[in-house]
């Protein structure tokens, strides 16, 4: 027997939010030209949803494809390709009722088989997607075996019961399963198009999507243009006619082009936020983002650093860093000092008051010196460590500041910058001492961060292994309200200090005042062109 769960809430989001489409404020008159120009820092790598790895590619793909659910500014789910879902009593089977009027841009109806195809494609070894693990994270039955090639992708437990009913089987209950459906990897794709064109199916003219827009132009490294899709089920409610994605590799040039009116939205170059916020408060905005910046300390039993295996040394290294100086004097865009791994911005997550967050910086430094002395390190016999970071001015400024903080407690930090490919190799091989790292959540739930440091996690580059932590995280998966476990997990992280959280990211952007409906507050930066419009100035 299956029971209706969450359905009413999900529908309620849809009704209260602005969400299905652009909701034009009655006080606004629409501008004649409805076009929005968005900044991309890098050229688009791929528009194939199952191959997408970057945030920026997702920004474009979100306009061209529509998944089962989209997300409101506040992070609430909005039914999109799906109308509703039910979940079985054992919480292992999800059944989605799909929207019957949904169509592909070539006129074909969107059916459950399109989702089945896309999801199987994601795990298919022939696709070789770097994000295939997302299906494992979603706990879908047979995902692991399919990725390993032990079972055919068709064994993935995703089934089209009929054209409008999609059934998914999980191997263990996952309270936030539906939230994971917003991700680009699980967007549906059109089999006939991919079969017909192969690798080049994402070219303008060939690409068939089910989103509110179609791709009309793509010049890699220069720009991509999307134009309203007349086949989209809710096209009548779309206001914006075109979206232009301009690649500008330099943030200062991008800002100049914003000033010249070529871009409607840009990131604010480092250091300019306070001034712009003061002089142009209507355009400058900074909002929390679901990302955390941290330093790793290698405590691998064989390749780790002896001193870093001492928990007191790790705590001292964390205490010695004055996070407020980093956020207020170096970054200056409203970033939030981090004492926990998970940012407060995650939906439903309350940041626990971990012990050292409440101390003054003087007290932390005093404690750091005490702990280091206890461990046998003093200014005469300093602890010597090397910090690796990937080449970037931003990482460098922070590393230099940390070097100074450490000097004050008698730790000699050598800075070692390297290109990203080498840096990531060294981190994964655990042949570093300390390393700069960061993570942006994949879905709006604290576990997207906390799962990183379970002993079996693919991200656990510090070799942190605490059975209690693993158990807390494993148990949280079946709890109705996992906050208690998340609190304990964060407290364990603060106690064991396998990593040093430094700050939580913000997105600081300039947005033209005549663009309305942009979800500034969305912590993933998920935005949908169909919800925007341009008012007359």
């Amino acid at each position: 027997m299956k029971k209706q769960l969450l359905l009413s809430t999900v529908l309620a989001f849809g009704l209260t939010g602005s969400a299905f489409a652009a909701t034009v404020d009655p006080a606004d008159t629409l501008a004649e030209t409805q076009s929005f120009s968005f900044w991309l820092l890098d050229s688009i790598v791929t528009l194939d949803p199952q191959l997408i790895e970057s945030v920026e590619d997702s920004d474009v793909a979100r306009q061209l494809f529509e998944g089962l659910y989209t997300e409101s500014a506040a992070g609430d789910l909005i039914p999109a390709g799906a109308l509703e879902y039910t979940v079985s009593d054992d919480k292992l089977t999800y059944t989605f009722k799909l929207r019957p009027e949904a169509k592909w841009s070539n006129g074909d109806p969107v059916t459950a088989n399109d989702y089945v195809y896309a999801w199987q494609r994601l795990v298919d070894p022939a696709t070789a997607s770097s994000y295939s693990w997302y299906m494992e994270l979603m706990q879908i039955e047979n995902a692991t075996a399919a990725i390993a090639g032990e079972k055919p992708p068709t064994d993935l437990a995703v089934k089209a019961v009929d054209d409008l009913t999609l059934e998914v089987k999980l191997i263990q209950p996952l309270p936030y399963f539906v939230k994971m459906l917003v991700h680009a990897s699980v967007l549906p794709t059109h089999k006939a198009t991919i079969d017909a064109h192969g690798q080049s199916w994402t070219d303008p003219g060939k690409l068939v999507g089910n989103g509110a827009y179609t791709l009309t132009e793509h010049k890699p490294g220069e720009k991509a243009v999307v134009t309203r899709n007349p086949m989209y089920w809710n096209n009548a409610a779309t206001v914006m006619e075109t979206g232009v994605f301009l690649t500008v590799n330099d943030e200062n040039i991008a800002f100049t082009r914003y000033e010249a009116g070529e871009l409607d939205l840009v990131g604010i170059p480092t250091g300019m936020y306070p001034e712009l916020k003061a002089s142009r408060p209507d355009e400058a905005n900074s909002a929390p983002r679901a990302c955390t910046y941290y330093y790793l300390m290698n405590m691998d039993p064989e390749k780790g650093v002896e001193a870093l295996k001492n928990v007191n040394v790790r705590r001292a290294l964390s205490f010695a860093i004055d996070r407020n100086i980093i956020t207020d004097k170096i970054l200056e865009s409203g970033q939030i000092p981090a004492y926990t791994l998970t940012p407060a911005a995650m939906a439903g997550f309350t940041v626990p008051p971990v012990d050292y967050a409440g101390m003054t910086q003087e007290a932390r430094v005093a404690e750091a010196i005490r702990l280091l002395t206890e461990a046998g390190f003093t200014t005469e016999n300093p602890l010597k460590l090397t910090l690796n970071y990937n080449t970037s001015e931003g990482h460098k400024s922070i590393a230099v500041a940390v070097q100074q903080f450490y000097k004050a407690v008698g730790v000699e930090l050598t800075l070692n910058n390297m290109e990203w490919q080498v840096h990531s190799d060294i981190m994964h091989e655990r042949t570093y001492e300390m390393a700069r790292s960061a993570w942006c959540g994949d879905y709006n739930e604290a576990s997207t961060f906390l799962d990183l440091f379970t002993s079996s996690s693919g991200f656990n580059d510090v070799a942190y292994a605490n059975a209690d932590y693993d158990k807390l995280m494993a148990d949280s998966k079946t709890m109705a309200d996992p906050q208690a476990n998340y609190t304990m997990a964060e407290e364990l992280l603060a106690k064991d200090m396998p990593i040093i959280p430094i700050y939580h990211y913000t997105s600081s952007r300039m947005l033209k005042t005549d663009i309305k409906g942009y979800p500034q507050q969305n912590v993933f930066g998920n935005w949908y062109l169909k919800e925007l419009y341009r008012a007359t100035k």
Binding site: G221, T256, W439
Partner: protein, 307 residues
């Protein structure tokens, strides 16, 4: 002459083959790989990726397969990073862009550089000479990454004359800043080279003889000085031309032209082996070709050289 050209073109084949082998070996020797990501990928995913792109094969086989596909199908393979594009796609899209702005930069740099050099040399140690020299030095020390943002600020923001970036198939308004930014440094070098080469020629014996027999100065310059003075410039222009038409990462970065220079640098940073190899080959082949063209031109200009 024709047998000489044919011989040179034949020698190009083993040269390019050596270039492929050397580049491939060096690329694979560099730490890091094309599939590195934030997350340490599971061995199964890595296995799927390496199998898809043939990286599970021994290196000699990969090189052989590369050369085979190149010769038989003119196929440079898939990009490891840009997964819905092939190297052929990337070159086909980016090379015409750089060819266009590179070509115009070359024309402007050569013409202005030579004229400035000649003017400076003729007015040796006079005000004009010093002016040209000063401009040349300023041009030479202003790198593209300084000049480009200043130009965007000036022409786009303050004057509002030109778009701040983009390409639009090389429409002239999009072409002006990339061309000027790329050409400036070269104008300066060419002017200085031309000036010193002119001065040297002006001091040679045959010029003294020409003047002694009473030829007017303009005839001395056009009839006797220009040709020999151009020779060192010519050998410099071959590689400059190749460098310009194969793109500049600075231009592509600051003006969002979508050219091949940025792709080349990115491919090295991303360890996108196939793109790196493809563009290396393109640059290599063009270098060989233009060195040959320069050598042939030499024979026309310098009567002492005969092949």
């Amino acid at each position: 002459m024709f047998s000489y050209i044919a011989r040179r073109l034949l020698v190009a084949i083993p040269t390019l083959l050596i270039l492929i082998v050397l580049s491939a070996v060096l690329m694979h020797a560099a730490p890091g790989g094309p599939f590195n990501s934030e997350r340490k990928l599971s061995p199964e995913v890595i296995a799927n990726l390496t199998a898809k792109y043939g990286l599970d094969q021994p290196l000699w086989y990969q090189i052989w397969a590369y050369i085979r596909d190149l010769v038989l199908h003119f196929d440079f393979g898939p990009s490891f990073k840009y997964k819905d594009r092939t190297v052929n796609d990337i070159i086909a899209q980016g090379f015409p862009v750089t060819l266009k702005y590179g070509f115009w930069s070359f024309i402007i740099a050569t013409v202005l550089g030579i004229v400035a050099g000649v003017v400076a040399a003729i007015n040796h140690n006079k005000a004009t000479d010093y002016l040209v020299l000063t401009i040349a030095i300023v041009g030479a020390v202003l790198p593209g990454y300084v000049l480009a943002p200043i130009m965007v600020l000036f022409f786009t923001l303050y004057l509002g004359w030109l778009p701040g970036g983009g390409w639009e198939d090389g429409e002239w308004r999009y072409l002006v800043m990339p061309v000027l930014a790329l050409a400036t440094g070269y104008i300066a070098s060419i002017a200085r080279l031309m000036r010193s080469s002119m001065l040297e020629t002006l001091n040679s014996n045959f010029v003294r003889t020409a003047r002694a027999k009473g030829l007017p100065e303009w005839k001395v310059i056009t009839g006797h000085v220009m040709k020999p003075a151009l020779l060192p410039i010519l050998s410099y222009l071959g590689p400059v031309f190749v460098g310009m038409v194969t793109g500049s990462v600075v231009i592509d970065m600051y003006f969002s032209t979508g050219g091949i220079g940025k792709s080349f640098v990115d491919s090295a940073l991303n360890r996108d082996y196939s793109v790196m190899l493809g563009i290396t080959l393109l640059v290599g082949a063009l270098t060989i070709l233009f060195n040959l063209i320069v050598d042939v031109l030499y024979a026309f200009i310098d009567p002492k050289i005969r092949y």
